[in-house]
Symmetry: C5
Subunit: 306 residues, 5 copies
C-alpha cells in the first residue's frame, strides 16, 4: 500500500521535502495509514458555534485533551483545531498525532451577508506547536472572497517554505450565491478548482447536491452530459475538478445527523473516489465509544475503496 502514498506524493512535485514529510506523516498515520485515504477530526465548533452548542451534549469535550485523545484512539490521520485548543495539549501530545492548526475562524455572535473569518493563528504558531499542517477557510461567493484568497496566498507561501502542508476549507458562501447554491454541484466543483489553483495540498469541500447554481454552467453540464445524478457521480466530478484527481480532496460531514444517514452519505462519497472525510460534530458529540465505532465504520468504507 505504501506505493499509493508514494504515488500521491508524486503529484506534489513542486514541494520541498519538508512538505512531503508532513503529507506522508498524515497519510501514514492511524487506521487508514498507507491507503491513501484520510479521516480527520476537526474541532473548531467551540469558536464557530459557541461552547454549549458544541460540547454540552458530550460534556467531556469541553476539555481540549479529549479531542486529542479521541483522534488518537479512533485512529484518525490528523486532528485539526484553532490555536487555543492545540496549545492546550501541544506538549503532552507532541508527535503522537499529526495536528493541523486552523489559522482563521468565524464566531456567530455577529453575522453578515458577506462573511470573512478572522485570522487567529500564524505559521510560526504551527511550527512552535509541532503541527504537520496549517488549515485555512475561504468563502468563494462572498464579496470578501479576494481578501481571503490573498490572506491564504501569503500563509500558504510561508507554510510551504517552512515545510508545512496546507489544508484549505473551500466553502462557497455569501451574497454571490443562493442558499441552495452553496452546495450546488457546479459550485462545489468550482470551489475545489479554486482551492487547487490557489496551491492547496489538501482540499476540503461539502458534499455536493444535484442543484446547479449558474446558468452558464448548466448549459455545459447538459451539453457535455456530465453525470451528477448520484452522490458518487457528483463526488467523482468534484475530484476530477481538482486537477483530474491529482489533489487530495476530502469531504465534510456537515450538520450532526443520525448514524445511518451519515454512513449512507459516506458510502456515496467514498464510492465517488473521495480521499476521505473530515468529521467533527458527528464524532465528538457522541459518547466516546460510539464515536470511535462510527469513525471505524467510516474508515472501513474508505478502505474498501482504496
Amino acid at each position: 500500500m505504501a506505493n499509493r502514498v508514494d504515488e500521491i506524493l508524486s503529484w506534489y512535485e513542486s514541494d520541498n521535502p519538508g512538505v512531503l514529510k508532513n503529507l506522508r506523516w498524515m497519510l501514514e498515520t492511524g487506521r487508514l495509514a498507507g491507503t491513501g485515504k484520510m479521516v480527520i477530526l476537526p474541532v473548531d465548533q467551540g469558536f464557530e458555534h459557541g461552547p454549549a452548542r458544541s460540547f454540552a451534549k458530550n460534556a467531556a469535550g469541553y476539555d481540549p485533551s479529549y479531542h486529542y485523545q479521541l483522534a488518537i484512539d479512533a485512529g484518525c490521520n490528523a486532528y485539526a483545531a484553532p490555536l487555543g485548543f492545540l496549545e492546550a495539549g501541544a506538549r503532552r501530545y507532541a508527535g503522537r498525532i499529526p495536528t493541523i492548526l486552523k489559522l482563521n475562524n468565524s464566531d456567530s455572535l455577529y453575522s453578515s451577508a458577506d462573511p470573512r473569518p478572522a485570522v487567529t493563528g500564524s505559521v510560526d504558531d504551527a511550527l512552535r506547536l509541532g503541527c504537520a499542517a496549517v488549515g485555512f477557510t475561504i468563502y468563494p461567493g462572498s464579496a470578501e472572497r479576494n481578501e481571503m484568497y490573498m490572506e491564504f496566498r501569503e500563509i500558504a507561501e510561508e507554510a510551504k517554505s517552512a515545510g508545512l502542508a496546507v489544508v484549505l476549507w473551500s466553502y462557497p458562501r455569501g451574497a454571490g450565491l443562493s442558499k441552495e447554491g452553496e452546495t450546488g454541484v457546479d459550485v462545489i466543483a468550482y470551489a475545489a478548482q479554486i482551492a487547487a489553483q490557489l496551491g492547496a495540498h489538501v482540499i476540503k469541500v461539502k458534499p455536493p447536491t444535484e442543484h446547479i447554481e449558474q446558468d452558464a454552467a448548466r448549459k455545459v453540464y447538459e451539453t457535455e452530459g456530465i453525470a451528477i445524478s448520484t452522490l458518487a457521480d457528483r463526488v467523482a466530478h468534484v475530484v476530477q475538478s481538482a486537477f483530474d484527481g491529482r489533489r487530495i480532496v476530502i469531504f465534510s460531514g456537515g450538520a450532526a445527523k443520525g448514524t445511518e444517514a451519515l454512513v449512507e452519505e459516506i458510502r456515496g462519497i467514498a464510492a465517488g473516489g473521495a480521499f476521505g472525510s473530515i468529521m467533527g460534530r458527528n464524532s465528538f458529540q457522541r459518547p466516546k465509544s460510539e464515536a470511535i465505532e462510527l469513525l471505524h465504520t467510516v474508515m472501513d468504507l474508505y478502505r474498501a475503496q482504496a
Copy 2:
C-alpha cells in the same frame, strides 16, 4: 498551596518559561499568593470615562502613584493600566507589584454601534516598563470584532514569544447583540470560549445573567439541562466553557455599587469556581482604607474557595 499554582501553570503547556515566570509572579503575589486565586486592580477608567467621572469622588486617584500604592497596600495580585498611568510610576514601583499594560482603550467622546478600541501601547512598551503581562480588549458581537481578534493575535504572539503573559478582556458588545444580550449567559460563555481559543492566558468577562440571547443556544441549554439559575451556576458554566476550567477566568465588578451588593455578587462568583475578580471603580473611588477593607473581604471570599 504552591501545588495549586504548579497545577495551574501545568495547563499552559505550550508556553515558554518566561510566560510561566510571569504567570507565577502574579499568582504568588499579594494576599492571595499561592491560592490560585487573583484579585487585580485595573485603572483604565480615566481613559474610558474621563477624569472627573473616574477620580473626582476620591481625588487622590488623579495621581497615578495612588493606584500603584493602593494595589500594593491592598495585597492585589497585579495592577493594570494604560500606558500613561504605568509610565508615571514605572521606575519607583519597578518590581514591587506585577503590572499589566492595557494595550487598547476606548474613550467616550465618540461612540458607535460597532465599537473598536484604539491600540495605545505595544509589547515593547510592556517590556521596557517591566510589566508581567499585556492586557487587551475584544468586543465579540461588533462588526469590527475580527479586526480586534487579529490585532490581538499579533500582539499575543509577540508577547508570548517575549515571555509576557496575556490577559484578554472579552466584552461582548455591538450591533450583533441586544443590550441584555451583552451579559446573557450564552454570550458570556461564548466570549470566554473565544478568548481561550485565541490563546489568552487570563480571561476577564462580566458576571453572566440568566438571559439567553441566541435561539440556537437556548435550545441546547434546555435540552441538555445546563444549570443557569444561580450566579454560581452560571459562573461554573462560564469557567467550564474556557477549556473545562483549565484557563484562568476572572470576573469584573462592573459599575460602582454598594458594598453589600458587591460582596453578595462576589460570593456567587467565588462559589461558581471563578479564579478571581478585577475591581476598578469599586476600589479606587472609595476612600483608601475603605477600599482596602473591601478588597480584603473579596480576597477572603476567594480564599475560602481555594
Copy 3:
C-alpha cells in the same frame, strides 16, 4: 531572423540581462522562434469560469499536465497559468518551455460592477517554479483600477529586479465604461498605452472594434483621420499606441469560436502588425490534434508577416 529578436530586445534598454535572457527565451522557443512573433497558451479559465465550463468539452484538460504538453507539442512560445496549474507540472516540465505565472485571478462565483482580481501568487513563486515571466491583469475603467496599477507596480519592480519578464493583461472593464466600450478602439489603444507606461514588457489586449467610447477621443480620431475601418487598421493603431511599436503587443482570441472565424480574425490581427496571439479556450477545448493544427495555422499567419 535572429536579428529581429535582437532588435526587439534593444527596445528594452533599461532592463537587466536577466530580463533580456527571459524575453529571449520566449522569443526563441517554439515554431515561431526567432521571428519576433509569439503564440502563447494561457490556461486560467478553470479559475476564471470554473472547471466544467473550461474542461468538460475536452476532458483531458482537467489534468494540468495536458496543457504543458499541448504548449510544447504545438510549438508555442510560452505557457501561462495560475499557481496551482504550474506547480502541478513544474518539476517534470522544468526548462522544457518558458512558463508565465499568472499572479492575479478572478473567479465568477461573485461579480461586481468594479472588478478587481485577487493576487494569487508571488514573484518568489515564479522564481522557485523556474518561470520566464510573471503575468498580471489590470482592468482600466474599474473604480479599483488604481489598486491594480499599484499592485502591478510593486510586482513588476520586484520581478524586473529578479530578472523576470513582465506580461500585462490590460482589459478595460468596470463602471467607467459601457459594455461596448470595453473593446472600443480608443479604449483598447488607451489600455495598451497604460500598460506600456506602467512598464510592461509584453502587453496583451483584446482585438479592438470600430466603436469609439469617449467623446474627447472621437474628436481626435475624426480630425486627425486615424484609420480604424479594418481590424488591421485598428491593430496597427493599437501597436502604435504602445510606444510606436516598440513594445511587444499580443492579442487574445476571446470567446471560443469556429475555426474559420478565428482564422479570419487572426489574419486581420497579423496584418496589423501584431506581435502575436494568446489563445486559450480556442486551443484546449478542441481535441489535441485539432488544436495543434489550428495553432500551426495561426503561427503560419504570423510567420507570413515576420
Copy 4:
C-alpha cells in the same frame, strides 16, 4: 529655580536620558528658563488656513526665517512648525532654539465632519533637522480619533526611543461633539487625560469654558462640587486631570484677538497653574516689536506664578 526643572523632569520617570535632555533644553531656554513655565511659538497656520489668511497682515511672516528669529528674539522656549518651515531654516538656526516638528497637519481646502490630519513628517525628519521634540494633533470626538491615537502611538514610541520629547495637541472636534462642546470644561479635561494616558510629555489644550458637554459628566461636576466658575478654576481642574499636575499642560491662545482680552485670558490661565502658553497668530500677525512686547507680558504673567 533649577530645582523646579529637576522636579518636573522627575515626573517622567520611564523616559530615557535623551528625552530628559530635550525636555530640559526646552525648559532651560528663553526668558522663562528654569521657571518650569513655557511659552512656545507655533506657526502651522500657513498649512492650516492658507498663506494670505496667515501672513498678509504682517507680510514679513511669509519668510520662514522670520519665525525662527521672532521666537529667539522674544525669548520663547521653543518654536514649532511643519516640515517645510523648519527645513527652510534648520541649518542657520541649528541649536539656537529648541524646535518642535509638527508631524501632522490639516488644510482647509476640504473639510469633513470627522476630521483627521495628514501625517506630513517623520521622527527621522525631526532627528535630521536637530529638533528637540515632535508635535502631533489628535481630535478626540472625531469618528477618526482612533486612527489618530494609533498614529500617535507609533510615532511617540519611535520618538521616545530616539530621545525626542513628544508634544500632543489634544483638540476635541468631530461628530461626537457639539461646537460648544469642543471647549467645554469636561471635554477639555478629558482631552488632557487622554493625552496623558497616551504618553505625551507636553500636552496642549484650548482654554476651557464653563460649558459641560456630557450628561454623565455633569452629574459628577455637580455632586462632587468641582469648581469651574472662573477660568483659573477650570484650568486648575484641567491640570489636575493630567495626572494631578504631573504632566506639562500648556494652553493655546486661540483666534487672534485684542491685546487686553488676550492678557486677561492668560492671567486666568496662569493663575490656574498652567505650565504655559503656545501663541501663534497672536504673535506673528502683529508687527515684530509689538509681538515681542506682548510675549514678554505673557511670560511675566507666568513667571509671577512660578
Copy 5:
C-alpha cells in the same frame, strides 16, 4: 549668473549634497542654464488623456525617443515622464538631460469627484534610471488629499535621503472646490504653500485667475489690499506664498492653445517673478521646429526677467 544658482541652492539648507547636485544639474542645463529660470518638458498626457488625444496630432510623439530628443534640442532644463516613457530611452539618453520620473498618474477611463492618482513608479526606479528628480501630483480639495500628502511624504523622505530632488505638482481639484475655484488665486496660493510645507524643492501650479474661492480668504485679500488684478500680480502673490520666494515655483501651460495667447500668458507669468514653465501639449503637439521656436520664445521671456 552662476551666483543666482548658488543663491537659489542656499535656500535648500536642510538638503544633502546629493539633492543640491541634482537641483544644480537642472538649473545649469539647457538654454536657461545659470539664470535661475527653468523650462521643463513634461509628457504624461499619454497616460492622463490616452495616446490618440496626445500624439495623433504630431504622430512622431508616439515614440518615446521623440520627447527626450525634443527636450534636448529645445534646450529644456529637464524632461519629465512616467515610468514606461523614461525606461524606453533611459540608456541612450543617460546623462544627456536631467529627467524627472513622474511617480503617480491618473488615466481618464474612470473618473470620480474626489480623484487620487495611482502610484506608478518608485524612488528606486528613479535611481536605476539615472533621474535627477522624482515628480508627484497632489490634489488639494479632494477627499483623498491626505492619502496623497502621506504618499508624497514617504516618497519625498526616501528621495531626499537618496539625493534626488523632489518636484510637486500641486493641483487643487475635488469635492471641496468649485470648478472655478481650482484656479482661484487664493486656492493656487494655498496650493503652493501646502507644497512648500510638505517639503517640495520645486513646485508646479496652474496660472491663477482673479477668482477667490473661500470667503475667509476674500476678507483678507480685501482688508490687506493684496494685488491680484493682473496675472503678474497674482503670480507674484503665489511666489510669495511659497516661503517668500525662497522655493522654485513654476507654472503649467494648461490646455493646448494658440501661440499668441500662450506667449501672452507666459509674459505675465514671467513678469510676476515665476521661476519658469512646464509645457507639455503646447510643445509636443506642434511640429518639432515650431515647438522649438515656441520654447525658445518662452525661454527668452524668462531670461529677460532673470
